[in-house]
Symmetry: C2
Subunit: 320 residues, 2 copies
């Protein structure tokens, strides 16, 4: 019996609060990509929606509950995608949304946060500094803080991906999940362990931003002093203890991948699946590239979690 | 009362024969793209499936009915996408599939037709020559011919896109449909005229492959001697009379667009929607680019019908 903060009935019910445009996303086999990787590859595509990432599953749920409670203003820290999703969801529910973000976040993400009507507060530091700023804003202005991975709605929203995966996976399959703060990993992991326990859930993090993976391996919070990765969406340094507790129950492994593998993963997704993705969304393919024997001949599902990427940087990375 | 070859109840029922991986595709607003075009743009994405085009909706239906009839072998002519889809659908139902195609079709399309297990017969001529070859093969070998746009299943399959659009459109909106042989246009058009008659259905064809548009305008079949377009998926010269008859009832307009607009459309879809599409899938955006006043301020839905494109050519076209 899983003892995480998540609950299957609650996850199932949460779908009613989420705009259908974010649900029932494509899940399909991509043989051209699988042929390159020596295994059967299925793609769970989370980029074909108005905010181009899975994050709105969680922000739809969070803002729905906050609006029900009469909350008028919210703030979050974001590497870029959560802020855009919270802005989108909040605007539709009349919430005033403020997003604290690193000034080093991709320009396209910052622009899109503004374009959905959120107030953007730039921080001269990394994502962890933005988290501190969001806490300060919440305290000083008396607005509600939405914290990714800690607020249960962000995990429950991501967990709805797991519900959609269950019918497409079977024992022996592996699901690759990008690991950052842990909302997607705990959410998807919880559902799979509950409903399809024979499926291996493998989290993937860049070697340049390994805090949660190191924490999972040592079964205690391990922080790092800095991050060095192009995968801006998963570059945290301070894992949240209760999220780690959940993660320890629901995933089978956490692996670290090199930057070169992430780049190759992005290029393979472009050339063999026709998908332009942000670096975090290529972590799964990177994991296959780094350990082909592990996945050889198996059916591997990779969640393409986001497509918000600066195109100039993208072209440079993939060599186009 | 519409008097086409299509029937709404039959279209609704046809969904049961189609693998769900091809149904309920994403339909979402893309504000970044709309901002570039001066209107609200929604994308109906038909590329996130195993064959990367809408064509499998029709081939699923066709092969399902043929298998029920005990048919063992089929042949079709294809510009590339139908053949891939027929191969995919046929293989799953134990059908032997032969595809006649132009040797000038994009290599990626020919490769993928082979990769799904179909026999490929290359013709030293254009798509119309491939159509002739398919007829000959059917006669000589006694195998069943599946003819795009003429076989009602290809239209009914495409019409299921229309069913999925109905809930997302309202009076005054416009739906842009790539026009080739006419299966998608008659299918989607029939459903929209039946269920959402206030929605404008606009077909878009390249000025370099205008046969069906000219036919629609003159209300009689007009053929052309040649085609000159990068939009290989819609480059026919001999419209089918009964398809034209249907088209005359269900669409509001047919417009022709220039090659430069198609290329710009592809680039905008890449840069503002993160989508790598084949030229035919950019026809709708090209139509907006060529007549922005017509669509200004309106909600325009464009069907992204295929993503099978040779990447070297693509890079050259979009200037990447």
């Amino acid at each position: 019996m899983l003892q995480t903060r998540l609950d299957l009935d609650r996850i199932r019910a949460s779908r009613d609060a989420i705009d259908p445009v974010f649900l029932a996303t494509p899940l399909y086999r991509c043989d051209a990509l699988g042929g390159q990787l020596g295994c059967t590859v299925s793609i769970k595509l989370e980029t074909a929606n108005p905010v181009r990432s899975f994050k709105a599953r969680g922000t739809e749920l969070a803002t729905s509950r906050l609006a029900d409670q009469g909350v008028a203003a919210v703030v979050c820290a974001s590497a870029g995608n959560l802020g855009q999703a919270l802005g989108w969801s909040g605007r539709r529910r009349g919430l005033d949304v403020t997003v604290a973000a690193s000034c080093f976040a991709p320009t396209v993400k910052l622009d899109r946060i503004r374009s959905v009507g959120a107030h953007l507060e730039l921080v001269d530091g990394d994502f962890e500094m933005a988290r501190e700023r969001a806490v300060t804003i919440a305290q000083q202005r008396g607005v509600r803080l939405v914290e990714d991975s800690l607020d249960i709605e962000t995990c429950e929203g991501a967990a709805t991906i797991g519900l959609e995966l269950v019918s497409g996976v079977s024992a022996g399959d592996a699901v690759l999940v990008a690991l950052g703060g842990g909302a997607m990993a705990t959410g998807v992991g919880h559902v799979l362990k509950a409903l399809a326990p024979g499926v291996e859930v493998v989290c993937v993090q860049p070697v340049g931003a390994p805090a949660m993976t190191l924490s999972w391996r040592e079964r205690r919070v391990v922080t790092t002093d800095s991050t060095h990765t192009i995968a801006d969406g998963v570059a945290g340094r301070y894992p949240i203890p209760v999220v780690l507790d959940d993660l320890l129950q629901v995933i089978d492994d956490a692996v670290l991948v090199r930057e070169a593998s992430i780049v190759t993963g992005m290029r393979l997704l472009l050339e063999h699946a026709g998908l332009v993705v942000e670096p975090s969304a290529a972590l799964g393919i990177a994991a296959i590239l780094e350990d082909p024997d592990r996945f050889a001949g198996r059916h591997v599902v990779t969640i393409i979690c986001g497509g918000n990427v600066d195109l100039d940087a993208y072209r440079r990375w993939v060599g186009w």
